[in-house]
């Protein structure tokens, strides 16, 4: 136990496919994506069947989706049904990515990897997908892009531009410019909030397991379950609120 726990801000490359580096968090994202896809396809196929022959997973999934729908209904009202697929996908995808990093074997199974300095060192084979700033930045940019595009779709291009480019008086012009800056700051804030929470959780679990290997990580695992759920909820809720702000007719 002379070594420090293996903590690295950047994701590490584990292998290459035709020159494209595949990092350990990209591998985890792909695995969770496949699981998510299988779950959704299963739900879709079950919904076409006779109600007597559906299996229980369909009803569990239905219950989760209904609770989410009611949760978004309080913000979006009657328009929820239009934006519900995006929001529910965000929530379930981010939730599964956050919780994937807590499974046994993720972060602890090490393989040999050769960095481009031609030296061998051990890196984890899998790592939580959202503990990588690339993933969270992509999710943040996607969320801001979606809220802007739905705004254009709902209230028309002229009204959308009128939000940012107000030329009535100097103060309105300043507020319009602030709106543009705030769109970019939303991207940064989304990505760093999710990344910071999940990465700090990983570091915390690693350090606690390093200090006291027996049973001390248990309350922190529960905390990480909770934090993963709350961060997925907050991400989706903020996207929902920004969508609802964008589609308001004045």
């Amino acid at each position: 136990m002379e070594d420090k726990p293996h903590i690295s801000l950047k994701p590490e490359k584990v292998f290459e496919i035709f020159g494209f580096p595949v990092t350990n968090s990209l591998l985890a994202v792909l695995i969770v994506f496949l699981v998510f896809l299988i779950l959704n396809i299963n739900h879709f196929l079950e919904s076409k069947k006779d109600p007597k022959k559906r299996n229980n997973l369909y009803y569990i999934f239905n219950y989760i989706l209904k609770s989410l729908y009611q949760f978004f209904y309080s913000v979006l009202g009657e328009e929820t049904i239009k934006y519900f697929p995006v929001l529910a996908s965000f929530f379930l995808f981010i939730l599964m990515q956050n919780w994937f990093g807590l499974l046994p074997g993720v972060g602890s199974i090490l393989i040999k990897a050769i960095s481009h300095h031609e030296e061998q060192h051990m890196v984890p084979l899998l790592r939580g997908g959202t503990a990588d700033l690339n993933t969270t930045l992509a999710l943040g940019i996607l969320s801001v892009a979606i809220s802007n595009i739905t705004s254009i779709q709902a209230i028309g291009f002229k009204n959308y531009v009128a939000r940012f480019y107000r030329i009535k008086d100097p103060i309105s012009f300043f507020i319009g410019t602030l709106e543009i800056v705030s769109e970019f700051s939303k991207m940064i804030s989304f990505s760093f909030r999710l990344f910071g929470n999940i990465f700090a959780g990983e570091v915390l679990l690693g350090v606690i397991a390093f200090l006291l290997p027996v049973l001390a990580s248990f309350p922190f695992l529960i905390l990480e379950l909770f934090v993963g759920f709350i961060q997925a909820l907050v991400f989706t809720m903020l996207t929902c609120v920004f969508i609802s702000l964008g589609i308001k007719h004045h």
């Binding site: 801000l9 309080s74 760093f192 909030r193 910071g196 909820l233 609120v241």
Partner: protein, 75 residues
């Protein structure tokens, strides 16, 4: 002083100072939310949603401080 000493000190100071104001803010948000639920129990669900949103914004700033201190330590 050597750079390693300064780095170590700044890691500690960054996260400590960066957590003071977010935690005060979150406390204040919770307090106001509870008061307004007490005054108007019907609007509880709307108030709770807004409170969670505001707490997420306030906590994000503390997370920025945490990320900066992690960057100083590990990069």
């Amino acid at each position: 002083m050597e750079i390693e000493v300064i780095k170590t000190i700044m890691i500690g100071i960054t996260i400590v100072v960066g957590s003071i104001f977010p935690s005060k803010a979150i406390g204040k948000i919770g307090l106001q939310a509870l008061e307004s639920i007490g005054r108007n129990p019907e609007a509880e669900s709307g108030i709770r949603t807004t409170m969670i949103l505001a707490i997420a914004f306030a906590e994000a700033v503390a997370i920025y401080a945490l990320v900066v201190s992690l960057i100083i330590k590990f990069v």
